[in-house]
Symmetry: C2
Subunit: 221 residues, 2 copies
DNA sequence: ATTTTAAGTTAGGTATGGCTAAATTAATAC
DNA sequence: GTATTAATTTAGCCATACCTAACTTAAAAT
């Protein structure tokens, strides 16, 4: 099983399959089409090709799965992406709503040397600016503590924001203004029908469920 | 004349035309084919397209020229390339024989934000690690003093190496070993049929003409 | 058990950017 | 001036990665 040279599209397909698999049990063609912003027939076609390259397995009408080789490549791309995001934020003064798009293009183009250089420079970080885990050079994920989405946090608890599950610029921008950023500490005031009421610094907000469910926290020690 | 969105190939064509124009009076299809590592018919085809986009002008069997818009884009790509080369060398510890290939791919992919960030970080540099001039944001070239190729330097003179006109890894590597790098001072010992005899630091070498003609110098103070 | 709907696939088409082989044009040599 | 050679273009192909429209399969609803 040698590592073939893949196109940018193919790398994105593999990466997206990997990310979807983390959430759903099964990855449908439609899910992929939506995430990759292409029409379903294009997905069918590409999956066929990736199948023939032994990078994915596909039971028609069932779902797609990565092979071992496919998964390795997916994780490599993910590592590029997340290292780049952190690098852009830490060394080139990007804000966290600007890093994703740039990393999405750069991830396919940087060499292993570039990857190693920025990893070294940042002292082999384990998490990117959204709190997403960065796989190691050996493609292993750091073990992270159990996180709870804001929607299911218990009233009265103090929690630290550990991960924000979106790349949407507007949401990220909003969260910055509300000081709901990685590492910040919040106190849950209560769950209401419209959302979660919480306190950050000296301010109190009601965060709509749609946004709250993107924010994952860890209970403070 | 609006700036169209160009493919990576198209950007490379424009950049290469610009660079060739700096050397030759006229840019032939063959020159381009050689530089871009493509067969002549591909060049004809692409030039036709760039023509229809008003980025180049082409008199069949005569030569190619950039239009004003085409030249602007070419210089922008060149700026990306050279800023990147310097950035890789200065901030990611690349040696000067490693920077070109990486920059060749990155140049098409970085955003204006990225460009601005690294330019700022390096305090708006005017020359890359090969001594090539870096155009400003306004796309103007820094004025540089008259340089002489090593092949025509006068015996006895002390000169500073200011520019090395190649991206060939083996040559660059060789020059590093010989301490013939940008900024270093040499003394011309004489011209022989096989090459130029010169002194760097405490060593004396005979540099073959093929290599000597790539090294451009400036007479010391 | 049929019908309806949603998901996925097939067929056939487009644009891009390459290629080879053959034809044409221009330049050079005799 | 004609013949040779070199440069360029034309014609016709190929692969990639998309697309729409039409068809098929599976699942859900009545
Ligand atoms: Mn991508
Ligand atoms: Mn991220
Ligand atoms: Mn390039
Ligand atoms: Mn350079």
């Amino acid at each position: 099983m040698e590592k073939p040279v893949l196109s940018e599209s193919q790398e994105d397909y593999l990466k997206e399959i990997f990310k979807l698999r983390e959430m759903n049990v099964t990855v449908s063609m439609q899910d992929l089409a939506k995430k990759l912003d292409v029409r379903p027939p294009s997905v069918t076609g590409m999956i066929k090709k990736l199948c023939s390259m032994d990078l994915v397995e596909h039971e028609p009408y069932k779902g797609v799965q990565l092979t071992e080789t496919g998964e390795k490549i997916a994780i490599e791309v993910l590592r590029h992406h997340r290292l780049l995001e952190l690098y852009l934020a830490k060394h080139l003064n990007y804000s966290w709503d600007e890093i994703h798009d740039e990393a999405e293009r750069l991830e396919h183009v940087i060499s292993e040397k570039f990857e190693a250089a920025i990893a070294e420079l940042m002292d082999h970080p384990t998490h990117d600016p959204h709190g997403d885990p960065i796989p190691s050079v050996e493609l292993e994920f750091p073990d992270s503590p159990d996180l709870t989405p804001l929607t299911t946090c218990k009233t009265g608890r103090m929690m630290t924001i550990k991960r924000v599950m979106t790349q949407d610029k507007d949401i990220l921008n909003l969260l910055t203004r509300l000081e709901l950023t990685i590492g910040n500490i919040i106190t849950i005031k209560g769950t209401e029908s419209a959302g979660i009421r919480l306190k950050v610094s000296d301010n109190q907000y009601l965060i709509p469920h749609t946004i709250a469910k993107l924010i994952w926290c860890h209970e403070d020690n």
